[in-house]
Amino acid sequence: MSLFTRLEAIEIIMSELNDNDLVISTTGMISREVFYIKERTSNFYMIGSMGLASSFGLGIAMINKSKRVIVLDGDGSLLMSLNTLPLPKYLGISNFLHICLDNGLYQSTGSQKTISNSLDFKLITKSMGYENSYLIEGNQYELKNLIRFIPESLSFVNIKVSQEQDLEVPRVSIEPETICSRFSEHCSEK
């Protein structure tokens, strides 16, 4: 089965979300494409700080226990923050869905190669204590079902996506401070 594009993967993920889900997307094309596909006030588009989407999401998940926190990482940002992967298990977090959109490239900086092709993120996350780890390679139906029916748990999904870019999507046009303040309104658990 041939790989689908990152934009197609994001389209499937965003269409299967619950309204309550808190989404944190990493720096670069991933945040842009999430913004383009489905703008929501409970999306946090991370513009800077590559690699911190997972630790930021973890802090959010620790407090907002009745909501599912979904972190959309890229393979580059995941590699930058491998040291964060053992923390959710240590902290006993179960409302955390960590997704990696893996195209093997730092696409936002001009498509330099990452080293993700020589690694197995599914095995890595499994060994770091993620309860469920999945690999999706080209089956859109499988991805759709997985996001829709995945049980409340500490889970990881690596989605191998193609290196093609569907279209040049615009930059996130919302001010960072606004992204922050409106997202914060969804994080109001006592």
């Binding site: 946090f44 991370m46 911190l52 973890l58 407090i63 907002n64 923390l87 401070e177 994080c187 658990e189």
Partner: protein
């Protein structure tokens, strides 16, 4: 000030969520944080991860604090500039000053950073204060802390309190 008193004072100021990377400057502060049942303390593998976690607490409307040493200062610069600085996410950052003043204080690995620490922090243009005097009175310590906390939440930025060895003991 004792580590127990510092934690008590922070709790009185609504700080219940902590992360950090250990430092010997603060004596038993980290074990106090780990063992206090009212607190959440996340031991981070690196200082930028601690800032990420603490920022997740902050956006969830909890006051958050990172405790670390100045040798990890370089590790937080990208986080506090490209993330907290532009999104306006406040975090109280307590930093132990290893290698104060540079050579020959402390171990060799702390000499260069020990000398440059305040210059680097000042260049970040964040709320900042420091406490060098080991015999500072608790009320003077708390005045500095309160002024810093006020600035942090007025400007919605990370703010740093740099503390010498012997102040917390």
């Amino acid at each position: 000030m004792s580590p127990e008193d510092l934690v008590k004072e922070l709790k009185e100021r609504d700080f219940f969520y902590f992360s950090g990377v250990p430092d010997s400057t603060f004596g038993s502060l980290f074990s106090v944080l780990e063992n206090d049942k009212d607190l959440n303390y996340v031991p981070a593998p690196k200082e930028d991860v601690a800032i990420g976690i603490a920022s997740g607490f902050s956006i969830s409307k909890k006051k958050s604090c990172v405790v670390m040493q100045n040798s990890g200062l370089g590790n937080i610069i990208n986080a506090v500039t490209s993330f907290n600085g532009i999104y306006k996410i406040p975090v109280l950052v307590i930093i132990g000053w290893r290698g104060y003043g540079g050579k020959p204080n402390d171990a060799p690995e702390h000499w260069i950073m020990g000398e440059k620490t305040t210059e680097i922090i000042k260049d970040l243009c964040l709320p900042f204060t420091s406490i060098k005097n080991q015999d500072i009175k608790n009320q003077d310590f708390l005045k500095k802390l309160d002024d810093l906390i006020e600035k942090i939440y007025k400007e919605n930025l990370p703010g740093i309190i740099l503390i010498n060895k012997g102040v917390i003991r």
